[in-house]
């Protein structure tokens, strides 16, 4: 079972995730249309590039956009959540070992205490984001079942992985559940709003080009996000 899950199943998950995201990127860019979107995407490459980069960076860096500054508590919660979600799976020692054993690749890792801390932070902030969904009327009205499902999907491998690492009773069960939920997460990325891990950069680049090329970027100092 373990061999299957960390072998063919893992491969399948990675392939579906990668190919799916690639399809999303191609479909998105192919569907951009200078006349329908009313942005001369290709005619002003420098202004477009500048607009796109500014647009991405201002929202990628905490407090660099006005809306991040207006709500510091949410901003900190949101960035900590994403920090844990990205750093732990990529640089966990336990994951690096798999790479080392499988392909002989030496992969950088973060110390275990940091991984533990980031996991707990991700779980706590994820929970806070879930509570926020129902506590604030302006978010509650938008919330659908899939929003909750996606959040659970994203947090499940962290919870199960943490329990496995802590050698909780039923270690085998937690380990296998961790792998399965992780693979479900990978597979669901291209088909759900989790695709924002790539689409965020594309939509931000698009609106950045819109403002950079058409809406004043070539005249003024550029939009102050």
């Amino acid at each position: 079972m373990y061999d299957f899950l960390t072998g063919p199943a893992l491969w399948l998950a990675f392939i579906v995730c990668g190919a799916g995201l690639l399809t999303r990127i191609v479909w998105y860019v192919y569907g951009l249309n200078w006349q329908l979107d009313r942005v001369a995407y290709t005619r002003h490459p420098l202004a477009g590039l500048k607009g796109a980069l500014r647009s991405i960076l201002h929202w990628l860096i905490p407090f660099a956009a006005r809306n991040w500054r207006l709500r510091p508590l949410f901003t900190v919660t949101f960035f900590l959540f994403h920090l844990g979600l990205i750093l732990v799976p990529l640089f966990l020692e336990g994951h690096a070992v798999l790479l080392e054993q499988g392909w002989g690749i030496a992969w950088p890792t973060i110390p275990m205490w940091l991984a533990d801390a980031l996991t707990l932070i991700a779980l706590a902030t994820g929970l806070a984001i879930l509570v926020r969904r129902f506590a604030l009327p302006e978010v509650r009205i938008l919330t659908t079942g899939s929003d909750v499902l996606i959040l659970i999907l994203a947090m499940a491998p962290f919870l199960t992985g943490f329990l496995a690492v802590q050698q909780a009773p039923g270690y085998q069960f937690w380990l296998l559940t961790h792998i399965v939920t992780g693979e479900i997460l990978l597979i669901s990325i291209p088909f759900t709003r989790l695709s924002h891990m790539i689409m965020f950069f594309l939509t931000r680049a698009q609106i950045g080009m819109d403002f950079g090329i058409k809406r004043g970027g070539m005249k003024g100092r550029g939009i102050a996000w």
Binding site: W27, Y28, V29, Y30, G31, L32, N33, W34, Q35, L36, D37, R38, V39, A40, R43, H44, S55, W59, A65, R66, N67, L70, R71, F74, R133, L136, P137, E138, V139, R140, I141, L142, T143, T144, D147, R193, S195, H196, M199, F200, L202, T203, R204, Q206, I207, G208, D210, F211, I213, K214, R215, G216, G217, K219, G220, R221, G222, I223, A224, W225
Partner: protein
């Protein structure tokens, strides 16, 4: 498929149709007929397939439902934070529903879409600046307006407005003859005070082609005279065109994209015929957005640019003050505290934040910013055509509270409004709330304080 006599899917093509619609005061019969109007779902689906591409579909799909756009919308803020006014909710429940249903929606839904697209959004695009994904719901509402228009679900005044452009190539039924006559009349009116004042019509190769808002010949002819006098004092080589002179676009507000293209085609034709070095447009926000920012795309200009470089009046005024073409008499600068309304259409959507501030630095002793300001400023409350729609007067007046409070907290009684829509909204908010403020375009202010060279001074 039942179609009303006045309310139907066909845009206005003739003066007779326009007059019939105008005769239906307040759109009484028009809105009655709308209740029985049927949705052409096949046409709606075809339209979605053709025009709703990856940008819009991704926006609708990827929205994280995080609610971070809520506080960006002045309708949300002024309606006691009603969750139904959250921009993401408004667009998901209207356009989002149409897309998910692949166009299979009924008239009731389309009327709800119309009411939302015109009375709960002014297409100010502020929410687009507050969404982490950069989802611009103003752009989507503008698109939704186009779908509504093509199905006949459009506010009465908007159908009239776009019809005016189709019939007269100008709003407010101002003909080319009326326009040229008004220019001549204004010259005669002011020539005693301003010797040698002219409004050159159809002069080729001038430095500046000046375009206006048809409201000016209709309601504010003095605005044209003021522009002429200021160009005269600045020594500009300028002209107006006898055709394609109205840079406004009620068609853009209406979502009548064909008519919007027809209007800018006319304007660009004038640019190409007269070959000026550049175009300067009057103190209007949406007109600038239509002619300079969006127009090139309607007209199919692949570089997204107008045929000649185009400038807003505030850019010209800032430049004239900077270069000394216009000199301000320091004794006549505005002494009282004064604030400035940033027009969404050329500040947020065309980056002219510093031009207006440069002007204020020349003309005001105590200039005070609104908070927030520049591209983060709130819409005046009457943009996107909302000022002109009777059906939504109540909704508009609630929204005006945002601007009222913003102005009051500056402590200023005077608001400079270099935009026709903002001008009207501030005027109306004073009428509704009676807070004791006044408002002005830039031209009359400049004219009051500019130094007039000896040789241009009025004859004794």
């Amino acid at each position: 498929m039942p179609e009303g006599q006045l309310c139907n899917k066909n845009p206005i093509q003739t003066k007779e149709e326009l007059d019939a619609l105008l005769a239906d005061k307040g759109g009484k019969q028009y809105y009655q007929e709308m209740l029985d109007l049927e949705v052409d779902t096949a046409k709606l689906k075809a339209s979605l397939d053709k025009t709703c591409k990856s940008r819009m579909r991704t926006w609708l799909e990827i929205c994280a439902h995080c609610g971070l756009c809520a506080d960006s919308c002045f309708f949300y803020l002024t309606n006691n934070r009603d969750p139904k006014q959250v921009p993401a909710y408004k667009i998901q429940s209207t356009l989002g529903h149409i897309v998910r249903k692949k166009g299979k929606v009924d008239a009731k839904h389309m009327i709800m879409c119309m009411d939302t697209a015109w009375s709960k959004c002014t297409c100010c695009n502020r929410c687009g600046m507050y969404c982490p994904y950069g989802i611009d719901m103003g752009v989507m509402f503008s698109y939704l307006r186009g779908l509504c228009f093509s199905q006949g679900f459009v506010p009465w005044e908007m159908k009239i407005g776009s019809g005016m452009h189709r019939v007269y190539q100008a709003q407010m039924a101002v003909t080319d003859e009326d326009w040229v006559d008004t220019c001549e009349w204004m010259c005669e009116e002011y020539e005693d005070d301003w010797p040698c004042l002219t409004i050159p019509v159809d002069k080729e190769n001038a430095d500046i082609l000046y375009l206006v808002n048809a409201r000016e010949p209709m309601h504010y002819p003095d605005d044209i005279a003021e522009a002429a006098i200021l160009f005269h004092i600045a020594g500009e080589d300028w002209t107006v065109s006898s055709t394609g002179w109205d840079m406004t676009s009620l068609s853009m507000f209406a979502g009548d994209w064909e008519s919007a293209r027809m209007q800018v085609d006319k304007v660009y034709e004038a640019m190409e015929r007269l070959r000026p070095k550049r175009m300067v447009g009057t103190e209007c926000g949406h007109a600038f957005r239509a002619t300079v920012t969006e127009g090139p795309y309607w007209a199919g200009r692949k570089n997204g640019q107008t045929p000649v470089p185009s400038f807003h009046y505030v850019e010209w005024a800032a430049e004239a003050l900077r270069s000394g073409k216009l000199k301000i008499d320091p004794a006549k600068k505005i002494k009282e505290p004064v604030t400035l309304q940033d027009s969404c259409n050329y500040i947020r959507n065309h980056g002219l934040t510093e031009s207006t501030r440069e002007i204020m630095s020349y003309i005001a002793e105590d200039f005070r910013e609104m908070n927030p300001n520049r591209e983060h400023n709130f819409c005046c409350g009457g943009g996107g055509g909302l000022n002109g729609i009777g059906r939504y007067r109540k909704e508009r007046n609630i929204g005006l509270k945002q601007k009222r409070d913003q102005i009051l907290s500056t402590g200023c009684n005077l608001v400079v409004t270099p935009c026709h829509n903002c001008f009207d909204a501030v005027r109306d908010l004073e009428e509704v709330f009676q807070v004791g403020i006044s408002w002005s375009f830039l031209k009359p202010l400049l004219l009051k304080m500019v130094e007039v060279p000896e040789h241009l001074q009025p004859r004794e």
